[in-house]
C-alpha cells in the first residue's frame, strides 16, 4: 500500500467517524425542543424560572436571559420531527347530524337482551349494565348502536348484516354513532339535552387526533361508559362531578398511554391533595372544580378562554379583578395565578408565600432589598399583624367563655374583624399596600377592642369569685352567733327537762 493511499484511507476513515459522531454531538449539544404549543405561553420564565407544574428549571448559565431570547435557541417540537402531530381541524359541516344505523324496529321486544342475558358471563354482565342505563329507560336498545333485528328469535337473523348488524363499532366511528342521536335537536329536545357535543369534540385535541388516526385518545364511551350510560347527575355516573377526576385519570394516569404525548401522569395524585381535591372528593362540595371545569368537557378547552391558566378567575372573579389591577398583570413576564398557587396541586395559600426565596414565593423573583421585595415585606407585616391580633382576641374570648361568661356579643364583633381580614387577603392581589393596610388596620382595631372587653370579662369573673369568698365568709359570721345561741338554748333545755 502506498503512503498516498494510506493517507487517503485514513482521511476517509476519519471523515466517516466524524460523520457518524456529528449527529451524536449535535444531538448532545442542541437545545431541548419545546414539547408544548406556544399559543398563550410566550412568557417562558413564568413557568421555567420557578418550575410551575413540573416545568424544567432554567439552568444556571441562563441567568439574565429574557423571554424573547428563548426562541433563538429552542424550537417547538412540531417544527422538527413531530412525534405526534396535531392535524388541523376539519371544518364540520354546519348542522350535520350523522346518519343513525338503519335496522328493524320492535316494540316491547328485545331479543338481544334476552339472549345475551341468558348466556351468563360477560355477555350477561353487559346486558345487565345496559338494563341499568338511562338508554334502557328511554327505549334506546342494542340495535340502535349495534344494528340487527331485536325482534328476531334466532342469532343468525338477529345479527345479520341484512338487518343492519355492525357488531362492535369501530373506535373511530363511536363519536359519530353517538352523535347520530345526540346531535339531533328534534330528538334531544324532549330530554332537554345539548346537541353540540359532537361539534365540540371534533375540534378538541381528542377529536383531532382521532381523526388523524390515533386510536388511543378518548371517545364518548371512555368517559360516559359503553353500556351503563347514566345521567351526569346520577352519583354512579362516571361523569358525576365527584367521579370525573377518576374518569380522566383512567387514561391520563397511565404512564404507558401518555408517554408518546409527553403528558405528565401525576395530575390526579396532585389534585387529590389540593384544596379543590379535598373539597370535592372528601367533602362532596360541588362548588370545587373538577378536571372538566378548568379543561372543558367535550371541547377539551377551558370554557370561554384561550388557555387553562386564565380559568381561575371564572370562579375567583373578585380575586381576578384585583389581580388585573396589579403590576403583575401588566408585566410582560409577570406571574399568573398558577405561578404562585400552582394548578393541579393548589394549596391553601399562607402568609409564608411573602417571605423566603422558595419556588412560588415572592423571594423567588424579587430580591428582599428591591422595591417589590419591600412591598412584599409590607404586605406580609400587615396581614400577619392583623391575623395575630385576631387570634389573640379569639383566645381571650375562649378564656372568658371558660370562666363562665357570656361572650356571644364579643364573638359577633370579632366576626367583623374576620371580614376585614378576608377582604385584605383578596385585596392583596392588587399589591397595593395602602389598600391592604386599610383593611388590616380595621381588623386590628376591632380585635384589640374585643380583646380588651374579653379581658375585662375575665377580670370580672375573678372579681366575682373573690366577692364570693367574702360573701360566704359573711354568711359564716352570721351563722356563728346563731349556732352559739342554739347551743346555749339546747343546754338550758336539757337542764330544764
Amino acid at each position: 500500500m502506498s503512503q498516498a493511499f494510506a493517507r487517503r484511507l485514513g482521511l476517509m476513515m476519519a471523515m466517516l467517524v466524524i460523520a457518524l459522531l456529528i449527529p451524536v454531538t449535535i444531538t448532545a449539544e442542541s437545545p431541548p425542543l419545546i414539547p408544548h404549543t406556544l399559543e398563550g405561553r410566550s412568557a417562558c420564565l413564568a413557568c421555567h424560572q420557578t418550575g410551575v407544574a413540573g416545568a424544567p428549571h432554567i439552568p444556571a448559565d441562563h441567568a439574565g436571559r429574557t423571554n424573547d431570547m428563548c426562541r433563538l435557541c429552542h424550537q417547538p417540537a412540531a417544527a422538527a420531527e413531530a412525534a405526534t402531530p396535531t392535524p388541523a381541524a376539519p371544518a364540520p359541516a354546519p348542522g350535520l347530524v350523522p346518519t343513525p344505523i338503519a335496522h328493524p324496529t320492535s316494540v316491547g321486544v328485545n331479543s338481544c337482551y334476552d339472549c345475551h342475558n341468558q348466556r351468563g358471563g360477560r355477555l350477561a354482565d353487559i346486558a345487565g349494565q345496559w338494563s341499568r342505563s338511562v338508554h334502557a329507560e328511554r327505549n334506546v336498545g342494542c340495535a340502535d348502536c349495534h344494528g340487527g333485528d331485536p325482534s328476531a328469535t334466532t342469532a343468525s337473523e338477529a345479527m345479520s348484516p341484512a338487518a343492519g348488524f355492525v357488531g362492535i363499532p369501530a373506535r373511530a366511528a363511536i363519536p359519530a354513532l353517538c352523535a347520530s342521536c345526540h346531535s339531533d335537536v328534534t330528538r334531544m329536545r324532549q330530554y332537554r339535552l345539548a346537541t353540540d357535543q359532537y361539534a365540540q369534540y371534533q375540534e378538541s385535541v381528542h377529536g383531532l387526533r382521532l381523526a388523524a388516526g390515533d386510536r388511543n385518545v378518548a371517545t364518548c364511551d371512555d368517559c360516559h361508559g359503553g353500556h351503563q350510560v347514566l345521567p351526569p347527575n346520577d352519583p354512579s355516573s362516571t361523569v358525576f362531578p365527584v367521579n370525573v377526576p377518576r374518569t380522566c385519570a383512567n387514561c391520563h394516569a397511565d404512564q404507558a398511554l401518555m408517554a408518546p404525548y409527553q403528558i405528565p401522569t401525576n395530575q390526579l395524585e396532585l389534585y387529590r391533595d389540593s384544596v379543590h381535591g379535598h373539597l370535592l372528593l372528601d367533602q362532596q362540595d360541588f362548588r370545587a372544580p373538577t378536571c372538566a371545569t378548568c379543561h372543558g368537557t367535550h371541547g377539551a378547552a377551558p370554557p370561554g378562554l384561550k388557555e387553562v391558566a386564565d380559568v381561575c378567575g371564572t370562579c375567583h372573579s373578585a380575586t381576578q379583578a384585583d389581580y388585573e389591577k396589579s403590576p403583575h398583570a401588566n408585566a410582560a413576564s409577570g406571574p399568573r395565578c398558577v405561578t404562585c398557587h400552582r394548578n393541579h396541586d393548589v394549596q391553601q395559600p399562607t402568609d409564608a408565600l411573602f417571605v423566603d426565596a422558595e419556588p412560588q414565593h415572592c423571594g423567588a423573583c424579587h430580591d428582599a432589598a428591591s422595591r417589590p421585595g419591600q412591598v412584599a415585606q409590607s404586605l406580609y407585616a400587615a396581614l400577619t399583624g392583623g391575623a395575630q391580633a385576631y387570634d389573640t382576641a379569639e383566645g381571650a374570648i375562649q378564656l372568658a367563655q371558660q370562666a363562665g361568661m357570656l361572650v356571644s356579643p364579643l364573638e359577633a364583633q370579632l366576626r367583623a374583624a374576620n371580614t376585614n381580614l378576608i377582604t385584605a387577603r383578596a385585596v392583596q392581589h392588587t399589591l397595593a399596600v395602602a389598600a391592604v393596610s386599610a383593611q388590616t388596620d380595621n381588623a386590628r382595631a376591632t380585635a384589640d377592642k374585643v380583646k380588651a372587653a374579653a379581658d375585662a370579662q375575665v377580670a370580672e369573673s375573678i372579681f366575682r369569685r373573690q366577692a364570693m369568698v367574702i360573701a360566704v365568709a359573711a354568711i359564716g359570721l352570721a351563722i356563728l352567733p346563731l349556732y352559739l345561741i342554739k347551743r346555749e338554748l339546747d343546754r338550758r333545755l336539757d337542764r330544764e327537762r
Binding site: G404, V472, I475, L482
Partner: protein, 366 residues
C-alpha cells in the same frame, strides 16, 4: 319627798301591744310556734330547705321579671342584658337557675325521707298527697321555666318534651295543641309558658304549700324513732306520746336550726352561681336542629326510658307512676314505720331509685 319612776316600754313593744290588742297575735303565734318537734329529727330540715329554695325562686323570679321580655325576638337579648348590664343580674339569674335544681333535688330527698321513715302512714296520708302534688308542681315549674330564655337548648328541649305529650293515647293531639298553643313551638308557646310559670304555678304551689303546712302543723311530725304498735294508728301529734326530754320547741330551737341550714344553702347557692354562672346558647332557630337535645337532669330518666320501651308505654309510664305515687299511702296496709319492718316497700323503693338514677346517668352520657 316621793320619787316615782315610770318605766316606759320600747317602741317595738308598744307597737306589738297595739297590734296584739286588735288581732290577738300573741295567741296566734303561740299556737303556731309553741309546737314540739322530736329531737332526733335531723332529716326534717329537708322540707324546710325546699321551702327556702322556693322563697329564693320567688324573690329572684320577681327581680328577673323586671327585665325579662317574653317574646321570641326579645327574650334572648333581655337575658343577655340581665347577665351583662344589670347590676348583679348575673347573680340573680344564676341563683335562680341553681335554686331550681336544688329545689327539685331537695323536694325529692324530702319525699325519700318521708317514705323511708314511714311518715306517710296514717294519719298523714293527705300530707303525702299534698307533698306529691307539690313535687309535680315543682317539676312543672322547671319545665315551663326552661323555655323562657328561648335559646336553642330551650326551644328544642321543649319541642321534644311537648312532642312526648302528643303521644298520649286518645288525648295526645289535643294535649299537644294545648301545651304549645298551636301545632308548633312558637311565640304563643312562650307566652303560655311564661303566664303559667309566673301566675298559675306560683298560685297553685302557694295554695298547696299552705295546705301541706297546715296539715303538718295540725298533726305534728311523725317521730322516726318511735316504734308503732297495734294497727299503726299513731296518736295525733308526736308530742302526745313522747317524754319531754325527747322533744324540742319549734321556736326558737328548731327555727334556729332551720335558719342555720338556710344560711348554709344560701352560701352554696352563691358559690355555685359564682363558679358556674347560668349560660345561654344561640337564639332559637326552628330551622336548625342541634345534634344533641337533652332535657334538664330531672327529666333525663324519662328521656332515656323512652328510647328503651315502646312509645305508648314510655309516655304513659310517668302518668301511671305519678298516680301510684299519689295514692299508694291509702293502699299500704303494713302498720309498721321502721324500715326493717317494711322490706318489700324498701326493696321496691330501692329498685325504683336505682332505675331512675341509672337511667338519668345513662341519659346524660348518651
Amino acid at each position: 319627798m316621793e320619787c316615782t319612776m315610770v318605766t316606759r316600754k320600747s317602741i317595738l313593744w308598744r307597737t306589738w301591744g297595739w297590734l296584739d290588742d286588735r288581732y290577738q297575735l300573741t295567741s296566734l303565734l303561740g299556737a303556731l310556734l309553741h309546737v314540739e318537734i322530736p329531737r332526733t329529727a335531723r332529716t326534717y330540715y329537708l322540707g324546710g330547705i325546699t321551702l327556702f329554695f322556693f322563697v329564693v325562686q320567688a324573690t329572684t323570679g320577681i327581680l328577673l321579671s323586671l327585665y325579662y321580655q317574653p317574646t321570641p325576638d326579645a327574650a334572648p337579648g333581655s337575658i343577655l342584658f340581665i347577665m351583662n348590664q344589670v347590676n348583679f343580674g348575673w347573680l340573680i339569674r344564676s341563683i335562680h337557675s341553681w335554686s331550681a335544681t336544688c329545689m327539685v333535688l331537695f323536694c325529692i330527698l324530702h319525699l325519700l325521707r318521708v317514705f323511708i321513715q314511714g311518715a306517710y302512714k296514717p294519719p298523714h296520708q293527705m300530707t303525702w298527697v299534698m307533698g306529691t302534688l307539690l313535687l309535680m308542681l315543682t317539676l312543672a315549674f322547671g319545665f315551663t321555666g326552661y323555655l323562657l330564655p328561648w335559646d336553642q337548648r330551650a326551644f328544642w328541649a321543649t319541642t321534644v318534651g311537648t312532642e312526648i305529650a302528643g303521644a298520649v293515647p286518645f288525648i295526645g293531639e289535643w294535649l299537644l295543641a294545648f301545651l304549645r298553643g298551636g301545632a308548633d313551638v312558637t311565640a304563643h308557646t312562650l307566652t303560655r309558658f311564661y303566664g303559667t310559670h309566673m301566675l298559675v304555678l306560683p298560685a297553685s304551689l302557694g295554695a298547696a304549700l299552705v295546705i301541706h303546712l297546715v296539715f303538718v302543723h295540725q298533726q305534728g311530725l311523725a317521730d322516726p324513732a318511735r316504734p308503732t304498735g297495734g294497727r299503726g294508728e299513731a296518736p295525733v301529734g308526736a308530742a302526745a306520746s313522747q317524754p319531754k326530754r325527747r322533744l324540742l320547741p319549734f321556736f326558737p330551737n328548731y327555727m334556729l336550726d332551720e335558719f342555720i341550714a338556710w344560711y348554709l344553702m344560701l352560701a352554696a347557692l352563691i358559690v355555685l352561681a359564682s363558679i358556674y354562672p347560668a349560660g345561654l346558647e344561640a337564639p332559637a332557630d326552628p330551622l336548625h336542629t342541634p345534634e344533641h337535645i337533652k332535657p334538664e337532669w330531672y327529666f333525663l330518666f324519662l328521656y332515656q326510658g323512652l328510647k328503651l320501651v315502646p312509645r305508648t308505654v314510655g309516655v304513659l309510664a310517668p302518668f301511671v307512676g305519678g298516680l301510684i305515687l299519689l295514692v299508694f299511702p291509702f293502699f299500704d296496709r303494713n302498720p309498721h314505720a321502721f324500715p326493717r319492718r317494711r322490706p318489700i316497700a324498701m326493696l321496691v323503693a330501692a329498685l325504683i331509685l336505682i332505675a331512675v338514677v341509672g337511667l338519668s346517668v345513662w341519659g346524660s352520657s348518651s
